[in-house]
Symmetry: C2
Subunit: 756 residues, 2 copies
């Protein structure tokens, strides 16, 4: 036993760092001074406990002497207010009417926009301002941040002298000059107050950020107009005159270099913030992230600047993230998906000191210009996520948003979350397929620069080396070939797979390649793709299987991103039909239709037309000359289009007895459209089975309609819905039924007639 | 022009819903009553703007009459306090000392745990309680929720009568009986106050949840002991007597069926909550999610119940999510990664009404029992995320956590976030490789039940059909074969790839298969794997390429999860060496070493020993009989082990002139260990090049050490670090150097000696 402790038990040197001496009995049955005062309704007589065990903690003080002095709560965020910038003078900038029509349908960048937001905050008690005049003391929750005009120096941090001079000149222009400049400009308008409003808008953004950085408020909301993110350094545009957020960010970086070294600008306005992007394209201190409707550059601003491939330039490479929606109609689910998969990981990795949200509300549900469906709850959630960064230093600056009701409701919810409310619940969280594809593209591109995006942090299919430089030079570099470059130099997997299948069929099933004499484009590529049993010319009954390429089921190593080829299987359903058909003494033709090809015809290739061409070619050049009397088709996947097309363009009814088709969810149903006569439709219906995935869209929106299955029309054939979702499972489920149908269809009726 | 409007312009019917009549001049130059009162320092004389455009909004009231009455702020969360449960009587439950040793090293489930948490809240001003006595009025921020004993009925919601009776009996047991039960139990101890403390702990959890559900507090923190989540319905365990959180959840579901229909229990205690899991294993109303150290079931509680495959039973299938860490030492990055990839998507999809956090702080940095490194900021972030669910209805209940300082700091940060502080910033966000693998496994398993986890919402490699039943019966079903089942029925991709390579080599490079006479296990599988040029017996100089299987670079369709085989390439580096070697008139042997195999030897197969066996076999049975005089080895990936092994086990020095090796990041360096003599090491160093990925671990922890590269020792050969990361890029970068080295090494010196 420790000698020191033994000694301590018997003596008391009075130091408070030494445990009080106790006998063993006392150790087992101590008196707790605190508990003695609190005893109530206890059940045990002997309620003494051991407390002070010095070895486990350093606090040797006798607990009965404990006094914890009352102290101010150690909270830095909660006690502060949320800042608010609003100034009625920003309403002065307005479009000069030139026709009565504008009375009915005014310009969307309407002076009432900021008024309506201010009003809804008052209506919901977040600010006190009965007359909505913009008073200074607005209550306990929000703190009015005085709006001032941005100075020339501040504006020149981003803009050119020429641009500033031009905007300054609008102040004194005549009405005719103002109208002329409005006409000339790229979606801008001017009146004599535009300069003032623009300088206030810019100054408001600066002051809103300053207040957060200086710790006067916990976060802030700048309800400003005109907006800023389309204004490029040398030109106004898209309703914007000065690039408010860009000027604010540059101003903060200039004036608070110690406390703010990196800024994230998150632009959720439905348009791409080309102005902001341009201002920081070379700047690694500012991470610009924008989600916007893009449509391959057709949506305003209508340039390629908003494309996902714009990642920054020079030192700023890797610090620009564009998430371009290919269509409108995106909603909460899509935005949250982007946050979850791309934005939050990148933001954590960037380690900012301030987040500025370029907050247009034109992606809000109800905005006709934006055409999207983000709900107030969606904006609330995004705000809540961004609050978790850099200790909640967050500044929200208004950009666009043109439905007065929508922007009011959205801004209200953002303000509530800034004040500390949790976000409202979200409804449907299923993103669109287009969204998933776009996010995947963005991840591919950005994972060159952000290691938190790499598949498994070591993605082979991007072959990245991401080198983070010294903190002073946050430059990044990426080396190594891209997937596309590798693809030029190496074999396609489908060639390997097809070759192997060919070998198997040649060796085991007595197949040969059908010689293709190529005359039309695309036919040469069929060389490897049409195989048949020997003696096909003489076969009495033939099965023609036309199918998409075999699928590979595999597991990607989550850490390395590798596909272990010995852990991947080729799921080939033809083989099953082939083995069965040979047992039944059918001749067999197997046609493989690749989804894409490589080589000269790559861009022109379309697998649907290829399947059509293949079967027409087969029909015209071979089947006409065969001795066959009965044909059954088996179509799998997109390739089945060839079957339907053939049935519509050639009179196949004498030879073709049955057509079995298996459709995956993405393969659209195709109607037989006969160029011969209408009764083909009926014939097709009676002689075909089209098995679809359970989730095939032809059955309607299952989740909305419940069990209300609309039946596809007869022109699609007899369409049957499998119970399972996956194509290969559908084939498993219906294989026997299909085979029976074929056998019945080709059954020889001569025996019947003989018996008559 | 609209007739109605034309009329309205000239008359005034006095209705407030009709726009005031205006002349066209007035339209262009309106007077804004509000602005008139606010005008200051304006630059334009003519500051009239148009405001009321009725078509755009329904608000026709004249703004000068606007009065927005002062109203209570429309905030439901911010004005409420955070609830706190604490009662000093929960300190009574303590272990009876049986030896002096326990004085030095007391039982970790120590009465001071709750005291220390309460104390730090007071020290930081979150509560006012100078003497830490547990007073009722604790200030403005937190609301004391009175702790009461749980009733028999409540406890019996989860536990059996026998169990409850047993715990009740401890109240009157003698000291000897108490000690005996302590000894017998599974990591539990008892004294005469255990029943009281346990009932208070349970009742405290119930009351904390009730207060949130009833809206008396915005969220709550129950600082209770003894903990609960290991107590199973019929037995105590792991320091737990009653399953506090389970009883609370069941009580809430029973008593508030209208407002709380679904509950999420998120258990971040470092141990698996076997008790909670068991209580709700069949219950679809409670989603139990646990992150815990597991180590294949070896870590406490030491059963398989915490495995990722435990997904619930019966109606509860799909509502149990285990995230089992295979090792200790996990930290913030791993927990946040789990939240991001699995937990938050599932929670959103589940759509709960209440979240209860089983909050053990034993994964905290400093806890010796847990051995992990979650920082207070990490707990803060997890709390912030969970706050975004179901309107912030959140109740945090203490479970384990045994380092008094760590639990205090962690609980303090959680309390601050509950109060509205943003979380602190996180440091390193790179999860461990083991974490990424585990999360991938969990996603595989859980994506059968949660569509937000499916790869692209339509994952082929899981072949799922997830059918959500009616709200009343939240049962889920999954159908279709698993990957493993498909793998039994179909070809492995590596077979396809190797067959294709074989065919190419046979056709183009004059290769044949080396006949293997199989005597030892594993050799039969080499049949397809060793190919060589014709006439290999007579070749004077031979290159032997031994390599891992070719890699597949492919893109997985993010929506369907499919691999498009025509968009996937086989990256085969052998071909490059083969073509070069043939140009240089080498004989060539190409040995492919699969990473795994299928068939009878599957479980015994190890690719490293296989590469060793292959080369020994080749050496002993073939090379001995060849006419070769100069051999060069090219080793790629793990397969290079065969080369090193051979050099250590056979005297290769006369024949082998060079050994070139390319190592990927996961391939460990291997030292040549000679059974022959020590000078082999030196020989190997002089005659080999080992090119490694830039990120190979043999170069040390790059991020920590910066440019401090420790050089691998000579016994590994001459190890050279490439500038690129990816294996195939390494080969690209160093191909010429390798070839030159080989040529130099096999150069015939006879010409030199002739010239002497």
């Amino acid at each position: 036993m420790d000698q020191d402790h033994k000694m301590d038990i018997d003596s008391n040197n009075g130091s408070s760092n030494v445990p009080k001496k106790r006998t063993l009995d006392e150790l087992q049955n101590p008196v707790d001074p605190i508990i003695k005062t609190e005893q109530q309704n206890t059940t045990s007589a002997d309620r003494k406990l051991l407390y002070n065990q010095p070895q486990q903690n350093k606090d040797f003080s006798d607990e009965s002497d404990v006094i914890v002095p009352l102290t101010k709560p150690d909270l830095h965020y909660v006690p502060l207010k949320t800042g608010l910038c609003y100034d009625v003078r920003m309403r002065y900038h307005a479009k000069i009417f030139t026709s009565y029509f504008e009375y009915i349908d005014p310009h969307p960048e309407d002076p009432r926009r900021i008024y309506r937001i201010y009003k809804i905050l008052a209506e919901h008690g977040l600010i006190n301002d009965k007359t909505l005049s913009g008073r200074d003391d607005i209550g306990e929750l929000m703190l009015k941040i005085p709006v001032r005009e941005a100075s020339r120096e501040e504006i020149l941090l981003v803009h050119t002298e020429e641009h500033l001079k031009f905007i300054e000149s609008t102040q004194a222009m005549s009405k005719e000059e103002l109208l002329k400049e409005t006409e000339k400009g790229d979606s801008v308008y001017f009146n004599n107050d535009s300069l003032l409003s623009a300088k206030l808008s810019c100054g408001g953004a600066i002051e809103a950020c300053k207040a957060v950085v200086e710790g006067r408020v916990k976060n802030s909301l700048a309800v400003v107009r005109p907006p800023g993110h389309h204004a490029e350094p040398d030109a106004p545009g898209g309703f914007c005159l000065f690039s408010n957020v860009a000027v604010a960010a540059k101003s903060i970086l200039t004036n608070y270099p110690e406390s703010v070294r990196r800024i994230i600008i998150l632009d959720w306005d439905v348009h791409h913030g080309n102005g902001t992007q341009k201002a920081f394209i070379n700047d690694p201190r500012v991470l610009y992230i924008s989600l916007h409707r893009y449509e391959q550059g057709k949506y305003y601003p209508g340039t390629q600047a908003g494309g996902a491939d714009q990642v920054g330039e020079g030192k700023g490479v890797g610090f620009n993230v564009n998430i371009p929606w290919p269509v409108g109609g995106v909603g909460d689910a899509d935005y949250i998906y982007a946050f979850r998969k791309v934005i939050m990981p990148i933001c954590y990795e960037f380690n900012s000191d301030l987040v500025i949200i370029s907050s247009g509300f034109d992606a809000a549900d109800g905005d006709v210009i934006g055409g999207c469906h983000v709900s107030p709850a969606g904006y609330g959630h995004m705000t809540h996520y961004l609050k978790s960064l850099n200790k909640g230093n967050l500044c929200v600056v208004l950009e666009g948003g043109y439905n007065l009701d929508s922007i009011a409701k959205s801004a209200l919810r953002v303000a509530k979350v800034l004040l500390g409310e949790p976000p409202e619940e979200l409804k449907d969280m299923t993103p669109k397929s287009e969204t998933i594809e776009v996010i995947d593209d963005v991840i591919k591109i950005q994972s060159r620069y952000w290691k938190s995006l790499k598949p498994g942090y070591y993605g082979r299919d991007f072959n990245l080396t991401s080198i983070m430089g010294e903190p002073e030079s946050l430059a990044k570099a990426a080396t190594g070939p891209t997937f596309e470059e590798m693809a030029l130099a190496h074999e396609r997997v489908n060639d390997s797979v097809r070759t192997h299948q060919k070998t198997t069929l040649f060796d085991n099933n007595n197949f040969v390649a059908l010689p293709i004499v190529s005359e039309k484009r695309g036919e040469a590529s069929l060389q490897n793709e049409i195989l048949c049993t020997k003696g096909i010319y003489d076969a009495d009954k033939i099965i023609i299987i036309i199918h998409d390429p075999s699928r590979i089921w595999s597991r990607r190593d989550p850490v390395t991103g590798d596909l272990d080829t010995s852990q991947s299987v080729v799921v080939d359903q033809s083989q099953r039909f082939i083995d069965w058909a040979q047992k039944e003494h059918f001749g067999i033709i197997d046609v493989n239709i690749p989804l894409t090809i490589t080589g000269e015809n790559e861009l022109n290739y379309n697998n649907i037309t290829s399947s059509q061409d293949a079967l027409l070619y087969l029909w015209d050049n071979y089947i006409q000359y065969f001795k066959v009397s009965k044909i059954a088709f088996v179509g799998v996947g997109d390739a089945y289009n060839g079957v339907v097309h053939l049935c519509g363009h050639r009179d196949v009814r004498t030879l073709v007895k049955a057509s079995i088709n298996f459709l995956d969810k993405p393969t659209a149903l195709r109607a037989v459209v006969s160029t011969i006569d209408e009764s083909v439709t009926d014939w097709f219906y009676r002689n075909s089975l089209v098995f679809t995935s359970h989730k095939h869209p032809c059955w309607g929106d299952i989740e909305k309609n419940g069990s209300n299955q609309k039946r596809p029309r007869k022109k699609y054939g007899r369409v049957i819905r499998a119970d399972v979702e996956n194509l290969d499972s559908v084939i498993d489920e219906r294989f026997e039924e299909a085979c029976d149908f074929i056998l019945d269809s080709v059954e020889d009726y001569e025996t019947e007639s003989e018996s008559e």
